[in-house]
Symmetry: C4
Subunit: 492 residues, 4 copies
Amino acid sequence: MKLWPHCFPCYDDGDRGNRFCAASDFSNDLLPSLGATAQQPPKLRKYLVSPYDPRYKVWEKFLILLVVYSAWICPLEFAFLRYLPRAPFVVDDVVNGFFAVDIMLTFFVAFVDKKSHHLVNDRKKIAVRYLSSWFVFDVCSTVPFHSISLLFNKHEHDFGFKFLNVLRLWRLRRVSSLLEKDIRFNYAVIRCTKLISVTLFAIHCAGCINYLIADRYPDPKRTWIGAVMPNFREDGLWIRYVTAMYWSITTLTTTGYGDLHAENAREMLFGICYMLFNLWLTAYLIGNMTNLVVHSTSRTRDFRDVIQAASEFAARNQLPRQIEDQMLNHICLRYKTEGLKQQETLDMLPKAMRSSISHYLFFRVVQGAYLFKGVSARFIQQLVTEMQAEYFAPKEDIILQNDSPSDLYLLVSGAVDILAFLDEAEQVCGRAAEGELLGEIGIMCNKPQPFTFRTTKLSQILRISRSRLLGIIQENREDGEIIRSNLQLVNV
Amino acid sequence: MKLWPHCFPCYDDGDRGNRFCAASDFSNDLLPSLGATAQQPPKLRKYLVSPYDPRYKVWEKFLILLVVYSAWICPLEFAFLRYLPRAPFVVDDVVNGFFAVDIMLTFFVAFVDKKSHHLVNDRKKIAVRYLSSWFVFDVCSTVPFHSISLLFNKHEHDFGFKFLNVLRLWRLRRVSSLLEKDIRFNYAVIRCTKLISVTLFAIHCAGCINYLIADRYPDPKRTWIGAVMPNFREDGLWIRYVTAMYWSITTLTTTGYGDLHAENAREMLFGICYMLFNLWLTAYLIGNMTNLVVHSTSRTRDFRDVIQAASEFAARNQLPRQIEDQMLNHICLRYKTEGLKQQETLDMLPKAMRSSISHYLFFRVVQGAYLFKGVSARFIQQLVTEMQAEYFAPKEDIILQNDSPSDLYLLVSGAVDILAFLDEAEQVCGRAAEGELLGEIGIMCNKPQPFTFRTTKLSQILRISRSRLLGIIQENREDGEIIRSNLQLVNV
Amino acid sequence: MKLWPHCFPCYDDGDRGNRFCAASDFSNDLLPSLGATAQQPPKLRKYLVSPYDPRYKVWEKFLILLVVYSAWICPLEFAFLRYLPRAPFVVDDVVNGFFAVDIMLTFFVAFVDKKSHHLVNDRKKIAVRYLSSWFVFDVCSTVPFHSISLLFNKHEHDFGFKFLNVLRLWRLRRVSSLLEKDIRFNYAVIRCTKLISVTLFAIHCAGCINYLIADRYPDPKRTWIGAVMPNFREDGLWIRYVTAMYWSITTLTTTGYGDLHAENAREMLFGICYMLFNLWLTAYLIGNMTNLVVHSTSRTRDFRDVIQAASEFAARNQLPRQIEDQMLNHICLRYKTEGLKQQETLDMLPKAMRSSISHYLFFRVVQGAYLFKGVSARFIQQLVTEMQAEYFAPKEDIILQNDSPSDLYLLVSGAVDILAFLDEAEQVCGRAAEGELLGEIGIMCNKPQPFTFRTTKLSQILRISRSRLLGIIQENREDGEIIRSNLQLVNV
Amino acid sequence: MKLWPHCFPCYDDGDRGNRFCAASDFSNDLLPSLGATAQQPPKLRKYLVSPYDPRYKVWEKFLILLVVYSAWICPLEFAFLRYLPRAPFVVDDVVNGFFAVDIMLTFFVAFVDKKSHHLVNDRKKIAVRYLSSWFVFDVCSTVPFHSISLLFNKHEHDFGFKFLNVLRLWRLRRVSSLLEKDIRFNYAVIRCTKLISVTLFAIHCAGCINYLIADRYPDPKRTWIGAVMPNFREDGLWIRYVTAMYWSITTLTTTGYGDLHAENAREMLFGICYMLFNLWLTAYLIGNMTNLVVHSTSRTRDFRDVIQAASEFAARNQLPRQIEDQMLNHICLRYKTEGLKQQETLDMLPKAMRSSISHYLFFRVVQGAYLFKGVSARFIQQLVTEMQAEYFAPKEDIILQNDSPSDLYLLVSGAVDILAFLDEAEQVCGRAAEGELLGEIGIMCNKPQPFTFRTTKLSQILRISRSRLLGIIQENREDGEIIRSNLQLVNV
């Protein structure tokens, strides 16, 4: 099934990919509309490529590398390398070639309609959509104006053509969407990577553009860089680049030392634009950071609140030491188990899947309990589906003597003491080992629990509510008889 | 019904507007108070205008254009254009004329009482409310003091009168409320637009005021602009405006290069006020950005958490590969469908509307199922009302063999394999096509499911719980008989 | 009851206060601990004052005025007024007098133990608590060291004594707690007021301290202010104060022009401390702003999401125009009514209070319905308690023909058309006026609804579920008989 | 049980520790995996140390002190103390010795596998894990390169060796994890402490490194510090350190006065790195602050909203003054009690623990009620388990006359008036004292409540729902008989 590639784009090429490529159909990951209007999944027409085709995805990833390359090189070339020979531009032309191929290809790639979530594979619609949206930008960003101008030896239009090259940055739109979907990486990591990239790219671009403005200004002394480095055009590339970056980041972080600052109207205008952009970038960075911080600390914070509330509750109502300890113990354990999100994960699954998992995990344990010796597999399967696993901290009461019976417990691991009040004092009557049932007499005979059950170690128990248990027994009368005889055999 | 214009103010003039203008009554969108105190909707008196009248709304939009114009021009005029001839002020007088008309009009527009949500259409109350709230400001901001002063040729009061013109900014209060309600635009887009506008306007105003302070200062050398541009009064308007904006944004973003800074007490005082304002504006920008970021990323973040929890759950309990895949598949699909918010939307609607939608979507599919051949339309309508649509990923179990029956499923689209354990191995017994029922034998005969049903493609099924189904059958005995005979016809 | 003064401290002196001062007992607003450990509310001992005594509250408010006065004057005096004559210090001594009285008084004011929430009125405990916590600070901040030093004419210790006066700022701790509890003001307003006060106070203090450091520095040229204003000590108080404030806010907002900056190690050290503080203050401001923004925009944001989801749902499933309009209409109305939070407010109240309100609001309307003519008041009271008020937008279906009956509706206001499918087309059979019941035949005879009910105006209806209605009828057999005969009288 | 040490690491050495050290087993705090795969807790092998061993924890805390020491001293030494004699480095060597011991020790400390949460105590696995992760860093940060170089008298490699010393900062990773778990401190306090530490450390390090760069630069005049203090190398350590810190914090807070700024490419490069880091640190600080602010203000904010909604509800529906007062009273009380989180704490606990607490708190009160005189302890225990404690504000109705009975109330503390409508007016019929039952006649005889019960003071009541009470009576027939005769004895 091709649902996977979309959700887990990276599993395609790894070891897992193979397991999923069998009887799959490209359109399966498109949800049909509800009910009566459901239609047959469309077939891809000839020569069209699915956007989920693994080969197309590899091509997209390759393009992203090229995009990153040209995004970083393009401003640098534009600002600092104006007097260089043609050589480095050969690489540019090759890169442009790949993008030209991509423009061609786009006419053959089906797309998913945003409104209906259906895959559109009509070639006319694909062409219309592309031509009416991104086509012009893509073409403008790909035509090698620079090389064309060199052919004609018309150097006077050089600047204008170079400016069109800046349109290559347009390609960056591809990078964003792909990163977000990849689940191999942690959410915070991807988010931070994206933000750092954007920040660095903004600094790089702004530095280059600001240098360019100074470089082209008629009076070099009245530029931001010329005011402190009068002969800056003779200085090395490295020192000029570092100075430009230094100005750029000083402005972006709003440090604004003022040692480098705008000297003429052009620079002021660029500074105004850059600072406006910075205002939003900074706010966006902080917004994202807040989001990550709030999300990552919420559990610890809630745990603290709960512990504090429990301590205060105990102090306020002068609860005995023993109960307070049990409470705090229990909350600590609960916090730990909730961190594993086991119950939430199970609750999210449909009934059949939950049954499979319960069957896999608990069938053998439940089958081993003396009460269920000899009952049908069907009965036990129905039983485990309704069971819930719980952890109990040491010295915690599972069942209290004289309470009305509401649940049946099965001790999976750990150890439990059986206690009873005799002669006004609590006395240990026995010890339940792993695999034993707790409270079955109360449940089956419908009388108050005769014993208190208290853990001595961290214990894992399975719990099933009385009403559900009786419901299952009622539906399987024969198994009910076996259980009743098992009960009498042991307890009489 | 005129509820619409209020919620969707823009639908008024578009194509939809017409459909709603029929039997509508202006006061319908005012909620009556609960129960016994409900009263008759009031009728609009003669000559009064409803605030929801489409013509009044067009007028309001036109005024907003004028407001924006005067908000931008007014500070500019005030600071930079002091020596200009009267010509441009003619436009001002025309604008003022429109606002004068609006002041008149306001006495005839009914208003909604904030406390009771009732429409007040008593002319006295309208007048009292307006006179006691905004009237004075509106008049002060409209009287063309400048032109009046020119009539009297008393130039010495020029500055004071100009200051009164600043009151025109008061009109900006109109802009805010209207934007927010328009649902044609995305929430984030509107929010960002508003914030950018406020930022730009603050920069513009502060720049103008700061220039004004320097311009009127007796010693031009000891002003923030005069310190670096000694003869700034002779410079062009453009360079002075850009410099003022540059100072303004340098201060707003807290970059503070220091190349332009306050030189005298007046400028310091204005700087203090502006920086205090900036502190709050910046905090407000960041607050809004955080809000948008947190809101827009919450779904992706939660999905990541869930996927991670499921993977860890599988690893921790050493679940077999097949179950783990099913789990992750299911969660991916669930994330996708939840993104569509179909169930939430349905749950929000009242029962009758939900019935209409279910009837429209599912009636035909359910009618086609063999079990419901020949039953009354009334029965099927009651059935579809209780049905829920669900998606199942490929290779997911819908029903597990031997489970107790709890729901009846109807396959709407996709394909399902029927499996059974024979000789200790799972074997495919058949294949359910679209429109077939799953698990009906278990439900109707009340015995454990005889087969496992597993999807082979992405499938959409309708689910109805056993108890609800039996409830409906019980209420419609004759239809119950037909169903029973249908069941026997096919399965015996 | 004196619970009120604590929650609504302002109601004390207003018109409402009188209604609550009757049979009240000071200790009522202290929650007893749960269950068995509950004890008698303690009586206040002689000469002790309750912290909730209205006269003590007035005294506290008066002190706050003094605190604010001394907080603003004290740094100013300390930094700028060093060469002034004794005169203004007389005011200081009077203020100190009041604080001395307050120190005395504190020994007679009972306090609430934070752990147990009990009021402690043992005089020893009060003294011990005060002596071991704030006593020393309070005394130090009150002793008029300055006046004492003047008595002894020892001017050399002047500086040290003045420094002790700074301890008066300690009194500010009183301001914070009182503001927060007052519900007369909007939450956002109070929060903003507090933040602005703190910001202004921080700016004021830092400016004064920084000036002080410069003023005492041996070499006036090597100070932050002396570097730009060489003879600053001769300048007027106003210009010095403005300059200090300007430096202070330039630093706080991190604008940092650099025209005024630290020149020696002392100033650098103070700058380090101030900037560290600013880092936290700014973060705190932004945190609070984010909090307010997120809170205030959440409803609008959610509404937008819901509207968008509903539109997409309709488009995706190709729902007919009529149903889509109904959906959007309903959601708009729902958003409006939810804004009033009527249901949430009712749900929060205990059952008896809910009954009172329902009785007050709905009793008369329900009594007027033909079905309940002649039934006992007790029956109607039980009925209204279970009723829920709902609003329906115009053209919305309340009941759908052939649906199974689940609720009984009573039209309170608005108008409803009664429709039925005759000859394959929907035809209007009648019109229900205000006060009429909808769907009572379906409910009472337990058969599918014979008619569709559709609103024509915005309508308010009362809804009671069938099971609850039948439950109440079953408990009041005689009333049930009356209802049945009423039903037959009208419908047969 | 050793669950405690992990959750409450500090309780180990305190007075509580002893109570928990008895029959404990180190592996108890590791959760076994669910169900069938549960295995025996592993035993620690010989010579291996548990990471939860209290002695190991003390050792870890001791190391943290050393880490903090070397983190602060190391940059200082590196930057400012280059010409000092060997003496102070002796301390360094001792510190290094302790860290060498720790490296040895780590090979003998078991660790918890992150994926499975199992404790790994295979010595090979421990070694492999350490060698493949942190070993190299730990060794590099511990070898006393400086002392080694001195032995060989090769001063030319001095700088490189010193740089390796910076690796000692690596040890800081230990500090973070330990702080977070300690519940003795408030969450906000710990969080703030951590953030302040990180901020101060960043400032310290950046200042030292920036000074170092200036110190090693060939031309002292062209350094950030040399430009304003030409002979800075001759100045005292104190003034140089303060200047470095001043630059550092001016940059970190983005104040950027510009009086000290980068003068050469090296400094610019470092400035770029530091400012990038600052951007993230500032965003992180703000994010944390927002988190704390939002969390700490949410309750007050919600309370305000609720009060406002209730007031508006009352105004909108013209509720009588008395009901409005009751509503506001109730909401105030509710806000107060919710602050104690008593119900949430109870709900979080398992049934047996809840029973214990209820038994402890309420048993005696319930036993004293006349209706339960003579019933078995078992009956009362089952009763108290189902009871809920509630607070009622003064003048609030608990039960309304004629309402259908749904709950039985027991007055624990406070006072209640019994009212009835006689001759169209409410008249006081009696007064219920503490320990009395309210509404028992309605419940037991199943007829509408004959009286209204209204509190006169703040009252605490226990509530049990009718259905649960009848359920318990049905299960204990003999006790039911006693109750019935008790009822007749009093009320007939």
